[in-house]
Symmetry: C2
Subunit: 356 residues, 2 copies
């Protein structure tokens, strides 16, 4: 496609904070954001030129949405296959492409794809029926984590298991949905590579980012992660190869485990801007949000270099009640997402510090 000119429109599936920050980045580049979401009064809608509130399976609404924009992207990986297909059938350019979305939303396809690309993972096995559990436990080892293949996020849709009895109970609790059993690995550090690939095949990676979780939710990121340069190069090269293999356009994040013996295991990928890349808004020459919009629009990628060491802290649930402290702290870059209610576990905002 030819590059989207300023004044054009980018369609975004999803109305959460990632859609909101994408819409803001699009606005700065002179592009209208059109949001498609099933949620009324969404955070993204309140900063966008147009919003459609409809079901993700409403093919007529999707077709109309597609006709009003120059390209479509998403803030979440769990885009139903028929949603992507309806947009494509209506003539939309969908970035990232449907294959990347399909792989990233299924933990089994994702792990298979990592391995096919020569990127190691923890041991895992598919669980399609209760009868698979025993053999899966042998493959993955105990303790392990049983996860639904699709639709899990932020620690939801998963259970830690230590024995065959645990496994059966967990499988029942997960509704006997298609699952994957993953061996738990006692990693030394979790870090992510957030990178972009342009329509022209150009690749730009941000500094590796070390991540700490709290209750299964990303809590704190620092960039650059304190890892050896060779390891960073290994992870970045793997990300580059994976994105090329997918003919990927846009920003993608891969979470890696650094093992105590120095081995690198891929955990999962997100075919979108990622929470661990929020520090790039102030900490890099081009933010991940601008970078994604540039790629989706067929523009050249911007330079990803860091402007300094960065730290990002998520404000989760009640954390946001301390907003005055953050707002009054010189050098703290505060971001609030405009969510109406501070429910437990809900990402309400984040704060970034960038050093000299």
């Amino acid at each position: 496609m030819s590059a989207v000119a300023p004044g054009g429109a980018i369609g975004i599936l999803g109305g959460g904070q990632l859609g909101r920050m994408l819409a803001i980045a699009a606005a700065q580049l002179g592009l209208d954001a059109h949001i498609y979401t099933d949620e009324p009064d969404s955070p993204a809608a309140r900063v966008s030129a147009k919003t459609v509130v409809a079901d993700y399976h409403d093919h007529a609404a999707l077709a109309a949405f597609a006709h009003g924009v120059d390209a479509v992207t998403t803030e979440f990986e769990n885009v139903p296959a028929d949603t992507a297909q309806a947009l494509i059938d209506a003539g939309a350019i969908v970035r990232p492409n449907a294959r990347a979305l399909a792989i990233a939303q299924d933990r089994l396809l994702e792990k298979d794809f990592f391995n096919a690309q020569g990127i190691a993972t923890a041991p895992y096995a598919a669980v399609d029926a209760e009868g698979d559990l025993a053999k899966a436990l042998e493959t993955a080892g105990a303790p392990a984590i049983l996860k639904t293949r699709t639709l899990g996020y932020d620690g939801k849709g998963q259970a830690r298991i230590a024995s065959a009895a645990d496994a059966r109970a967990a499988y029942a609790a997960l509704g006997r949905a298609p699952c994957i059993l993953e061996g738990m690995c006692g990693f030394a550090m979790e870090f992510s590579i957030v990178a972009a690939r342009g329509e022209d095949g150009a690749f730009a990676a941000y500094a590796p980012t070390a991540n700490t979780h709290r209750d299964g939710i990303l809590w704190r990121s620092i960039a650059p992660a304190p890892i050896a340069q060779a390891l960073c190069a290994q992870a970045t090269d793997a990300t580059r190869a994976l994105m090329a293999a997918l003919d990927y356009v846009g920003v993608l994040a891969i979470e890696f485990f650094l093992m105590p013996d120095g081995a690198l295991l891929a955990n999962e990928m997100a075919p979108r801007v990622h929470n661990s890349g929020h520090w790039t808004i102030e900490g890099a020459r081009t933010s991940q949000f601008e970078q994604h919009i540039r790629a989706v629009s067929g523009w050249p990628l911007g330079p990803p270099e860091s402007l300094g060491a960065a730290e990002m802290l998520n404000l989760i649930g009640d954390d946001v009640s301390q907003w005055r402290d953050h707002v009054g702290s010189p050098g703290a870059h505060v971001h609030f997402y405009g969510k109406r209610e501070a429910r437990a576990g809900r990402k309400m905002g984040h704060v970034t510090w960038v050093g000299g």
Copy 2:
């Protein structure tokens, strides 16, 4: 007032690029922007939670607007007095205050105020009738510029005159509106001080910015302006004193002339964010837009320090047709305002470079 909490709403009068960039800054801070404009499909409306399109003298619409927001600000100085009063009557907190707006929108009051604050200006005289022209020319000297006292911007509403005959023709051409005749000064440099004052009286100034105009429209700014530190301190101190005298809350810009003999003359002030402060988006720790929203919201000001030497280039009219060059230039931060038509003299976007 108590500080506006994230989730609150800021009302902005005006739908242009300044309103758009204010709305984006508000969104990043978790605040909804409500735009009040008489222009349909305005640049600011397309990034804001809510927009009212109505006349600035529609007091009922203004009252309803005031009731939906926590504070009201403006992107332009020519807010009619009855507009501000209608908002205040409806209980709105209007920042900057009505007095600051009244002074800044009248070139005569503005110059009188500068002088009352001990800030020198070029010679000037009021022209209320044709009979005033001869004496005004004596005061201001020739050549001089005849300007309407109100509603002029970007070189509009003014005429250069060299003789009494010129003056009469220009006065007629300006519709015999109340005017001011200003002596022309052959300045060595024009620079601006963009600064903010918080509700708590805190003051934060950006690095001085040297400005170059093209056809009466700001074309290029560089920060810091190459001026001596003592001169910068003089201009900054004058700005601080003037803002305190106005009990000002928000961002304000003063344009100064540096004369060949080192004298400092104030040219005009803008009671709002200013084009010469656009470089602060990437070039300062807190952008002028965030700073203004912080002040208007009763939040502490952010640190104004520069992150490097900055250059800002306006894209005016057809300049925007070269958008591909700017978008493809590494290190160029591009901003487009989403205006539908690139008319001559229209500010369509800007590009900023920040050095190390």
